[in-house]
């Protein structure tokens, strides 16, 4: 099996007022035709890795190959083979959807006639046919992301880079985008995607690496990662702190993991969701504790981090030591909860 992306011991430090080591010896390989996920919180180095692989930045150390071509020495060739979309790669909001696609197609040196046909085809495929001749100022966040992805696909890239493709999107738009990405993979495109959402990596990625402070702290398939972690998290809300403390000691007996108390919420990783949930409810009932909420959910990135590093993901470091982005007209960066709570007996 040949690799579409090979990264070996890549290091990158940003000098400036504050020296930031964004990547500290990162290595991974991505097989052709698969989806690879780079999972990590803000500031972990995900975007820097994508920038290096898409020839926007050069690494200080190590080697990075896309389809066997060195991203530094053969940058021009690499650019003709890849597509880039995501939160930092933008579309021009003064142009219409179609004008944006045509521009990118022409900058890829594709013939006019082909580009025009391809634009129509992509607008239809991404459910933007009706909006194609409106300027992007009128687009919703989800529409912009779809157009952004369409722009990355104009030249039919062999390798596609998606930098946090769904960050800040509402659940419906996120789901739509996931479906689009899944259909691409069906066509044999190799995809590297970065995400803060374990749920997203779980759904889309064949293999993934977890990044923290510029280092790979875990790698494998989503199943392997989750198995290491325990399958699900049981989260119990109580009416006061005292109850929370008591509930924590009761839940100690459920499963093999230690419960965490934060405020009036107790969470504990369980290996066998529904069965452990029933045990938990019975034990709480026997102890005379009535929970206000009771949810069984997928482990969030935060849970993964806690398990792997012993610390929670740190909030909101600026990625790569860069200036914070003002993405105008795109109020798209709320702190979203890492995963959607799944009711007991839910869809997993």
């Amino acid at each position: 099996m040949s690799y579409a992306i090979e990264v070996a011991d890549v290091k990158k430090t940003f000098s400036g007022k504050l020296e930031v080591r964004a990547l500290d010896g990162v290595s991974f390989n991505v097989e052709q035709g698969t989806v690879f996920g780079l999972l990590g919180p803000n500031g972990s180095g995900k975007t820097t890795a994508v920038r290096i692989l898409t020839t926007i930045l050069t690494a200080d150390h190590g080697s990075a190959l896309v389809l066997g071509h060195d991203v530094k020495k053969e940058a021009g060739l690499v650019r003709s083979l890849i597509g880039l979309a995501g939160q930092y790669a933008a579309v021009d909001e003064n142009l219409t959807g179609r004008e944006n696609l045509v521009m990118v197609g022409r900058l890829n040196h594709l013939p006019k006639l082909f580009v025009s046909g391809r634009a129509t085809e992509l607008l239809e495929q991404f459910d933007l046919a009706d909006a194609g001749d409106r300027t992007l100022k009128t687009y919703s966040g989800g529409m912009r992301r779809r157009l952004d992805l369409a722009a990355a696909l104009v030249a039919r890239p062999t390798v596609l880079f998606l930098d946090e493709p769904t960050t800040g999107l509402d659940p419906q738009s996120r789901n739509d985008l996931w479906e689009v990405i899944e259909s691409l993979v069906g066509e044999g495109t190799t995809v590297l995607l970065t995400t803060q959402y374990l749920e997203e990596a779980d759904r889309l990625a064949d293999t993934l690496s977890v990044l923290d402070h510029g280092r790979v702290i875990a790698e494998g398939t989503p199943i392997q990662l989750k198995a290491e972690l325990g399958a699900t998290v049981l989260e119990v809300g109580l009416s006061d702190h005292e109850d929370a403390g008591r509930a924590a000691s009761v839940l100690e007996g459920v499963g093999a993991h230690t419960p965490n108390v934060s405020g009036r919420v107790v969470d504990v990783t369980v290996d066998n969701g529904p069965v452990d949930a029933m045990t938990a409810l019975r034990s709480l009932d026997q102890a005379g504790i009535t929970p206000t909420t009771f949810t069984l959910r997928e482990p969030s990135l935060d849970d993964v981090f806690l398990a792997l590093t012993g610390h929670r993901t740190e909030p909101e470091e600026p990625e790569d030591g860069s200036e914070p982005k003002v993405s105008s007209g795109d109020p798209d960066h709320p702190a979203q909860s890492e995963s959607t709570p799944i009711p007991v007996g839910g869809n997993r």
């Binding site: 926007i56 083979l81 880039l84 930092y88 003064n94 900058l107 890829n108 082909f114």
Partner: protein, 280 residues
Amino acid sequence: MTTTTISVPSVSGAPLATGVGGRLRWAVSDTLVITKRNLIAYTRIPEALFFSTVQPIMFVLLFRYVFGGAINPGHGISYVNFLMPGIFVQTVAFGAVQTSIGLAEDLQKGLVERFRALPMARSAVLVGRTLADLVRNVGVVIVMTGMGLLVGFRPTTGVIPYVAAVGIILLFAYALSWGFALVGLSASNSETAQVMSFPLLFPLVFASSAFVPLTAMPGWLRGFATYQPVSVMVSTCRALMIGGPTAHWLIQALLWTVGILIVLPPLAVWRYRTRTSRTA
């Protein structure tokens, strides 16, 4: 996915350039694509249209009818004839701020990021931006010519010197665009670009012979005001539009313009490379 019947040069990915000729042809094509994109954007940004049309008209009316009565240019020249060459130069100088705002915005919004991951010519973003500003300035000088005639401007030298004057103004405007490209590439966002631009422009435009005769200025200011590029351009245009000794000014004007064009574009390109390869 639905497959189209239109054939592609390569099954996937962008075609590759062959030889120097191929690369050059694509660099030209890339530049035109970016120029067109910037021109389309100008027509859709109300602020940019305002700066290009309403603001110069307001300046003409302001100086012609409000301040003009108090200014005597001397030598039996009417103030409107004195003023119009100055307003031309002032307008294109102010317009150059658009170059810095546009580039700062492209950087800020991440468009440059996308461009850098495309197999396009590196120079196209900057050349395409300055060329679009040149085209915009052609529109501006046409509006200004109409406006001038409307308020009583009467060029005395004939069509060819007038067209030559406009040509010199456009060349100077193009050179200035590169200077303000440098400003835009150094700013963190479009607002900063604008704020950085005006302190550079104000002394050049107002401590000049554009609106008042230099004899009205104190001696210490007159030295700067006589030889700085905006005054030189204004004097050249005055000579070409309403008569007077021309060669002396024309040589200086060309020296300034060529000098700026030799120094600033390489600096702007250097700034573009370092700026985009280091940060967002």
